[in-house]
């Protein structure tokens, strides 16, 4: 098991957003999370990346690193948790004052303090992989949404994290730009990256995932293989959600 999360809870004021949930992620696995708006999907990803501070929960990693949020957590531990994973945002959040290339090298060069020549090579390879080598000297405002999101993916990959988190990476995109981003993610899935992927693209989730997890109201209602959860869901709430999203009327 690459990562097990046990008893994760998070509230905003009196709003209990995650209610004691357990999640397990295998090494090299693609885990998709689906669920209605407000069910806590983003909050779960943000807890894994330490952008939110859980109220409760135990994170255990394969390499023995573990954090129990019942205890006081140091800044170092937060940083260590965060550096395990890379995050791709719904709204890209590229650095607007840096070119595509500069966005990608920023982490390895400034945070990891790797050698300039090495980082340059890495960034060029990554931008090539996401199909943007010819655009590497453009600023974000000069790129389409799909291109910006691909730079966002390359920026996260450049840190060589053990786990990649995607929060609805295509939902801010025009329909004709979704494909190019999904292609990149599909390639990563094939390369055995460990990924947690929040999405409304049910068909795509079925295609690339090893495991699908359905969340509603701060609970994990159902999880299993894509066939189990997407084709023959056991829970009524899952059935209703899929009904609504697959046959919008």
């Amino acid at each position: 098991m690459f990562l097990s999360i046990n008893g994760l809870a998070k509230s905003f004021g009196t709003n209990e957003v995650l209610k004691n949930i357990d999640v397990e992620v295998e090494k090299g696995e693609v885990l998709s999370i689906i669920g209605p708006s407000g069910s806590g999907k983003t909050t779960l990803l943000r807890c894994i990346n330490a952008l939110e501070h859980p109220d409760k929960g135990i994170f255990t990693f394969q390499d023995g690193f573990n954090l129990n949020f019942d205890n006081k957590i140091s800044k170092q531990e937060i940083l260590r948790l965060r550096r395990k994973s890379g995050m791709v945002f719904q709204s890209y959040n590229l650095f607007p004052h840096k070119t595509a290339f500069e966005n990608v090298i920023e982490g390895p060069l400034i945070v990891q303090k790797r050698k300039k020549a090495e980082v340059k090579q890495l960034a060029e390879n990554l931008l090539e992989k996401v199909g943007l080598k010819d655009k590497m000297n453009l600023y974000p405002y000069q790129l389409s949404g799909g291109q910006q999101q691909r730079v966002g993916i390359a920026r996260a990959l450049a840190m060589e994290p053990e786990l990649m988190l995607f929060d609805e990476p295509t939902s801010a995109l025009d329909p004709e730009l979704i494909g190019e981003v999904l292609t990149v993610i599909r390639d990563l899935a094939k390369e055995d990256w460990t990924m947690v992927f929040v999405t409304h693209e049910i068909q795509f989730a079925g295609e690339v995932s090893d495991k699908v997890l359905f969340m509603d109201g701060g609970y994990i209602v159902e999880q299993g293989s894509p066939e189990e959860v997407l084709k023959s869901p056991k829970e009524k709430r899952t059935q209703q959600f899929l009904q609504r999203i697959l046959n919008p009327s």
Binding site: N49, A50, L51, L79, R82, R83, S85, G86, M87, F89, S91, N93, L94, F95, P96, H97, K98, E106, G107, I110, V111, Q112, Y139, P140, Y141, R155, A156, A158, M159
Partner: protein, 234 residues
Amino acid sequence: MFHLNNMLYTISANMEGWELFVNSLLPMISGAIKYTIPLTLISFVLGLLVALLTAMMRLSKSALIQAPAVIYVSAIRGTPLLVQLFIIFYGLPSLGLTIDPFPSAIIAFTLNVGAYASEIIRASILSISKGQWEAAFTIGMTKTTALKRIILPQAARVSVPPLSNSFISLVKDTSLASLILVAELFRKAQEIAARTYDFLLLYIEAALIYWVICFILSLAQTALEKRFDRYVAK
């Protein structure tokens, strides 16, 4: 006869006026170069450092760190600059602390710029979206690194126009230093006018020199804004 006399008088007066104008140019420009410009530059640079520190303190979560910054900004903004200058130069000696005119002026203007610019810097930091902080955090940056590499460079762009305004105001405000005996541009004008009684001419001349300096600065502002705008959609 009367007409001719009058005309001759006017011409000779104009000639004298022109001569006075040209002769005063050198002392006034030298006052500008020796005092007005250094006073402006030094106070502005030091003021920006004070402003950055003050802005950081105001953005801190701790009320204990915020409080001195809030009081400082409020006191400077709530009192006239001229009064602040007089307190430092004429007031402090009674506490046994005598400071020369030029350093007194530097202190007063630095404190002044520090207070006003801290509000500009704080507002421009707050104008950068939360997503930028988070993107910086997800690539492993600490708060300090994120501020230095991601937030401040973007905040700088936002704050160029208001900070340029402060800078140009400062150039003009340095004329107040004439009242604590700093031999800057306007004091030179006053000294010459006291001898020649040609107040209108000399004060207009001083005004023109300030105008030229500020005009050059506004060109620099435009160039700076252009440079920062390279990464935003037109």
